[in-house]
């Protein structure tokens, strides 16, 4: 008898998702209140939090927490991959581009063939790497804005307003991607509507795996005859 549910995310991964989600909310709220400082809602928010100084303090504290978190995430991912405890399942490959084209052809009704995905599909990889690279840019520019005196000892002064423009716009881009793309894929997409709880529960149904991540599903099933589960613990 097959198990109804398959373990997709480890406890650490679920905690990581929850942490980044919370930090994103805090950083987004305190950041956009500063970006749109003259909008009535921003002024209201800033006053509700207790003034711009406190908003900035929270934003910076959350930014430092995000930095620590990012270092932890990347280190542990690298460690697991390098010691072969996890497959580098998030690395983008030629297949992802082929999948994107196959999927586009499907959407355009040029063909009826679905792309077959491994553990993460090209959309998930796009969002993940967007998050990692965007996050690095946010960390770098954020620290430039936090320590302009130190930064301008090594870099031209103009880099500070550059950092401000980049930080502000990259934040907006991240917000739009999360609002439009992530919310669609995790909530509104017909495949998961109204809510894909897997990143919180760690589990997905067998049907879901078979349909959305068939390559990984087959690999797990092949392995499970020998070693049961446990091996599904993958990274990042």
């Amino acid at each position: 008898m097959m198990k109804e549910y398959i373990q997709r995310f480890s406890v650490r991964q679920r905690i990581e998702h929850f942490t980044v989600m919370m930090l994103f909310l805090v950083l987004g709220l305190t950041g956009f209140a500063q970006k749109f400082y003259d909008a009535p809602w921003a002024i209201w928010t800033i006053n509700a939090i207790g003034g711009i100084d406190r908003v900035r303090w929270i934003h910076r504290a959350a930014g430092i927490a995000f930095t620590v978190f990012a270092i932890f995430h990347i280190s542990i991912g690298l460690f697991l991959v390098l010691t072969r405890r996890a497959r580098p399942s998030m690395i983008a490959s030629r297949k992802d581009f082929q999948d994107a084209i196959t999927q586009l052809r499907y959407y355009l009704r040029i063909s009826d063939k679905h792309a077959r995905f491994d553990r993460f599909d090209y959309r998930q990889k796009f969002e993940y790497w967007g998050m990692v690279l965007g996050g690095m840019l946010m960390i770098a520019t954020g620290f430039m804005l936090l320590y302009p005196v130190i930064v301008t000892r090594f870099l031209p002064g103009e880099f500070i307003p550059v950092a401000r423009v980049a930080h502000s716009n990259e934040g907006l881009l991240a917000f739009l991607i999360v609002i439009i793309w992530h919310i669609f894929n995790a909530h509104l997409s017909p495949e998961v509507f109204p809510f894909d709880p897997s990143i919180f529960t760690g589990k997905v149904t067998r049907e879901y795996m078979e349909k959305e991540h068939p390559i990984e599903y087959e690999r797990i099933m092949g392995q499970s005859e020998e070693k049961q589960e446990a091996q599904t613990h993958e990274d990042p």
Binding site: Q34, Y37, D38, I43, I46, N47, G51, I52, D53, L104, Y106, Y107, L108, R109, R123, P148, V149, T152, R153, L155, P156, G157, E158, F159, I160, P161, V162, R164, V165, A166, N169, E170, L172, L173, L176, I177, I180, W181, F184, S189, P190
Partner: protein
């Protein structure tokens, strides 16, 4: 009563006698200006305060006639307690004590100015017992009053009587240079500080209002065009870190932990000079010194983090301009692509049904 006797009375009795003689003659007509000038028109008319200082009691007929009040007011309109000759005795410790007794006469007509004065720093100082704080006559004079702003140079000269250091600093400014040439566009003290209800300029609330004060002229296109000065100064300030911080501090109504830079912190308070002139406080080398006031340890590159009131362009701050441009293209490109993919996805789902 002979004239000699009258003079004797004025010299001896006025201000000196403490007791007796208080009973005034029964309400005669108040003396006319000519009556008063019989004695007060004599250049040697004088009296002594209890501290020994001599007060000249002389009033120049001509200068009063040409003053704003000439032909309009009688002496007794202000000197309301003088109803008869000889005057009842009064005793003032010194000149200041007398001034402080008389200045309230002005409010009979100038009530609005008087009530504004009550809101100002000068009255607040007076109320705390600082006798040197100015009242009406200290700025406007007494008998030979002229309209206060004619010429406008009088205003800065009047304030400088007490505020000597500030007056000297102002005299070095671009504004004072214009004033000296009779330019009506430049501000004098009262344009920023107001005349009667001057607020304390050293409070946080005042500091946060400075950009608003400067902007009154410096965002006036017509006025600034005459001098080739950009009117973007306010918007570029407000869009930057310091300016937006100041705006938010203002809207919070809380007392911020530290002040954020405003116009005067870089351009100087009273000795504001032409930014392109030599020794200007804002040309790069000098600007760094201003930055270091708050940003301790800032190096030579630091001050160019401020874009000098320019909107970023290929000429000014090109890297900032290009970064902005990049995101103006990149954000719609990425978001548009994602939206198209979502719409296609949904379309295919609908088609499948």
């Amino acid at each position: 009563m002979s004239r000699k006797l009258l003079q004797y009375f004025v010299l001896l009795v006025t201000l000196m006698i403490t007791s007796a003689g208080q009973a005034a003659p029964a309400a005669p007509d108040p003396p006319s200006n000519d009556d008063c000038l019989t004695c007060h028109g004599k250049p040697d008319a004088s009296a002594k305060f209890t501290d020994g200082e001599t007060l000249s009691l002389y009033v120049d007929r001509e200068s009063f006639a040409h003053s704003v009040h000439g032909g309009k007011l009688a002496c007794t309109n202000c000197h309301t307690n003088i109803t008869a000759v000889p005057h009842p005795a009064r005793q003032f410790k010194d000149r200041r004590a007398m001034d402080l007794t008389y200045y309230e006469s002005c409010k009979q007509c100038h009530f609005a100015e008087y009530t504004r004065l009550l809101d100002g720093v000068h009255y607040a100082a007076l109320e705390k017992g600082k006798e040197k704080a100015p009242t009406c006559v200290d700025c406007h004079g007494a008998h030979a009053m002229e309209p206060p702003g004619k010429p406008r140079m009088h205003i800065s000269a009047t304030c400088a009587k007490c505020h000597t250091a500030v007056g000297a600093a102002y005299a070095r400014s671009a504004h004072a240079a214009g004033l000296a040439k009779g330019n009506p566009d430049v501000p004098v003290c009262t344009n920023c500080h107001r005349a009667h209800d001057n607020a304390n300029p050293l409070t946080t609330a005042s500091h946060l209002r400075i950009s608003e004060l400067c902007a009154r002229c410096h965002t006036n296109e017509k006025l600034m065009a005459k001098y080739g000065i950009s009117t973007d100064v306010l918007t570029t300030y407000l869009a930057d870190f310091h300016g937006l911080t100041a705006s938010l501090y203002r809207s919070e109504g809380l007392k911020p932990a530290a002040l954020t830079a405003t116009c005067t912190d870089c351009h100087g308070v009273h000795d504001i000079t032409w930014v392109k002139g030599p020794g200007s406080s804002v040309i790069k080398a000098n600007l760094l010194i201003k930055c270091q006031h708050c940003h301790k340890g800032a190096g030579p590159n630091f001050s160019s983090a401020w874009m000098g009131h320019y909107e970023p362009s290929l000429r000014h701050a090109p890297l900032v301009y290009l970064t902005k441009l990049f995101y103006m293209i990149f954000i719609p490109f990425v978001v548009g692509g994602l939206v198209i993919q979502i719409l296609l996805h949904l379309w295919r789902v609908v088609v499948n049904i």
